[in-house]
Symmetry: C2
Subunit: 423 residues, 2 copies
């Protein structure tokens, strides 16, 4: 276990080869075998709590010495409660249905053959993430359950914690009779390892970067393999003139204030001009009381004297903070135009009692989650019933919205015949 | 209509912008509008048969002057029958169900919200193809029906034919009240246009190259947007020792000889050693009579005196010709190992009456189509009931196997609530 490896490209090449080999065994592994590996990993983590905390303290001490801020040190820490929740996460993923091998749409064709789809793993998944060490166990579990091998690259500040978790993962895999190389945590903090990981299409089938926007942008632009990514969460609510005022107040307040730092938090509120005077004063009061700053268009500012004038930049900003941009629009069309221009295609919600406008919003807004009369905060793999989530994709290709086990799979066609030939 | 455009990058940028704008209108277009555009295009092609043939003759003359071979000139030619089939193709695509807007899996969650998926277009599709001008109408129709704008780049040798078809497409779109820029056929033969097309992620959502392997490899390696591609079709049949001999003979003969030049044609036959002596002599005779050369492993050559000795290279070759590589293997495991090592992940079929071995083959072979007792020649969008096919993907990401309308779409999540907030 060393932070320095001399020949990174040789090391990463062997990591990749081992992952590809392990992926074949994993694709064939039965549901029972995969589940027993997940439970064995959970048990091993439980048996090694002290070791985990000792290794985590090394990272915390190094982080403090390097001058990491309190928030980062907090994310880095493995408390007993966080170890509990890592263990629970593994058990929950073991309890989920196995997506692999599921056969759908198996139908007879006029020729007599039956054609259907079978769900299969993608192969090898590379995941690049930042400081939280619990992601190591989470990501390993999701890849394992979906029959994929994975190569994990955590933040350098969590190096010792990640290696300790990796040791439990290897141990659990071996106990279940699966190759330990099915989950490899890169054993170096050298940044060149990331560069190698994202440019090995022969060994890595998809990269999932989790972290800040700059990390994700850099990886997307340099990767030579497909990337499942999520850049921004500039989420909108449109309060239609046919909205139920009480629903508008509750849903907007919840979307903005339930948590400020999440990607599905409301950032821009659009209000139909006909209803603005009826809804904004009370909503403004609720938000003001909660300490949320409002940055409004000219009309908003005339209704809400405490609002600050918004600039053009506000419509394109993900605050991740107690700030809300508010704009009055003429009607649904203008709201959809604004959303299609400024949204990051994450999550948008309309508040309306009007059937036709709800139907139009659902069809025409081009975002990964489109809602009616519901809080944007619901955009989440657990809330959607996926059972788990590796991230939220704002792309359209392959996976969109919250990505659970199914997002880590593909399908192949299967054809059943009885000596059928093509005429 | 000119073959030379001075500033390619400026031209392509404006093509891209127009496509992006048109894609918004197309995503919103109703099923009836899209179908009426398809029918209007078909009618316009029918009304302009003479013009199409005149323009096509310019390409044929230029091709003959350039010394194109007979096969290429044949592919280039627009005969009245080929114009008929272009027109029929458009009518068939109009008759297919509209994939866009379909809602699936809409379920209540414990919180009371309903969560489901709605099918949406990808946006703008770039298609790069070679000599056949009928691809222009086909590709335009598939993109239009699936709600996508498209930018088409046909072979330079079909320039005049493609521009003539493009004129009918524009005319049909306008008649239906859709933006003519929803389908743009690049009006230059300059190769720099391809380079620009595959590196505009702001305007192009996916590239589909159709053509020879070298074209596809070049595009995949240079593209900065996702590519749906199909490189090789090295398809296998494994005749298991529990095969029904008659089915083995018929399916193998059909897979190899029904057409030689297609990607789903059989290229390598694997035979279980226990059954080799019972099946190979008769099969060898049938193939020999048909003029198919057999390149066999040592055991094959000892059973079939007319077989030529295969080299290692034969196991990795897509012949697209009356040649078949034949290898004797010990059992199913050795067959799957051979396939996973040498296959291009296109189509593989097992011939067996054994339930467990059929089940194992279906699960463990990692190809886009995996078959039991059926000819590899069935791997085709029409045979699978997709109604149409834009190509066959040997990738795993996003689309796999024959790609029809659905492969040109994505899904978004929709959430229906009644003032629901997240606790």
């Amino acid at each position: 276990m060393s932070e320095t490896i001399l020949d990174i490209s040789k090391y990463m090449n062997s990591v990749g080869q081992q992952a590809r080999t392990a992926s074949r065994a994993l694709a064939r592994a039965s549901t029972a075998t995969k589940n027993s590996a997940l439970i064995a990993i959970a048990t091993d983590l439980d048996n090694n709590r002290e070791q985990l905390i000792t290794e985590n303290r090394k990272d915390l001490a190094a982080g403090a010495a390097k001058g990491l801020d309190a928030a980062l040190l907090d994310r880095l820490e493995l408390t007993p409660a966080r170890i509990d929740s890592m263990i629970e996460g593994l058990q929950q993923i073991a309890a989920l249905p196995d997506p692999i091998g599921e056969i759908t749409n198996l139908k007879y064709r006029p020729t007599g053959i039956q054609v259907g789809n079978m769900r299969v793993p993608l192969g090898v998944i590379g995941i690049i993430y930042e400081s939280r060490p619990n992601v190591t166990a989470d990501a390993a579990a999701l890849c394992l359950k979906s029959g994929n091998a994975c190569v994990l690259r955590g933040g350098s500040e969590a190096f010792h914690s990640n290696q300790a978790i990796a040791a439990s993962v290897r141990c659990g895999l071996e106990q279940a009779g699966l190759p330990a190389d099915a989950v490899q945590v890169i054993a170096t903090t050298d940044r060149a390892a990331v560069g190698a990981l994202i440019t090995m299409p022969d060994y890595i089938d998809v990269i999932i970067p989790r972290g800040g926007k700059s990390l994700i942008e850099r990886i997307s632009s340099e990767a030579r393999v497909p990337v499942i990514k999520h850049l921004d969460g500039i989420c909108h609510i449109y309060i239609d003139d046919d909205a139920d005022i009480e629903k508008a107040l509750q849903v907007t307040f919840n979307s903005k204030t339930q948590r400020y730092g999440t990607c599905n938090t409301l950032e821009t509120l659009l209000v139909a001009e006909e209803i603005a005077e009826s809804v904004l004063p009370e909503l403004g009061g609720m938000l003001h009381e909660k300490g949320v700053e409002i940055r409004g268009c000219a009309t908003t500012c005339s209704i809400l004297p405490k609002a600050v004038a918004a600039t053009e930049e506000d419509w394109d900003t993900e605050y991740l903070a107690p700030i809300l941009a508010v704009r009055i629009v003429k009607d649904l069309d203008e709201a959809i135009d604004h959303i299609n221009r400024h949204s990051s295609q994450h999550t948008e919600s309309i508040i309306t009692e009007n059937y036709s406008k709800a139907r139009c919003f659902l069809r025409e807004v081009d975002s990964s989650s489109v809602m009616v009369n519901a809080s944007t905060r619901f955009a989440d793999g657990f809330e959607y019933g996926l059972g788990a989530e590796i991230g939220i994709s704002t792309d359209k290709f392959h996976a969109r919205g919250p990505v659970g086990l199914e997002g880590l799979t593909s399908v192949k066609y299967i054809v059943l015949g009885d000596g059928h030939i093509r005429k």
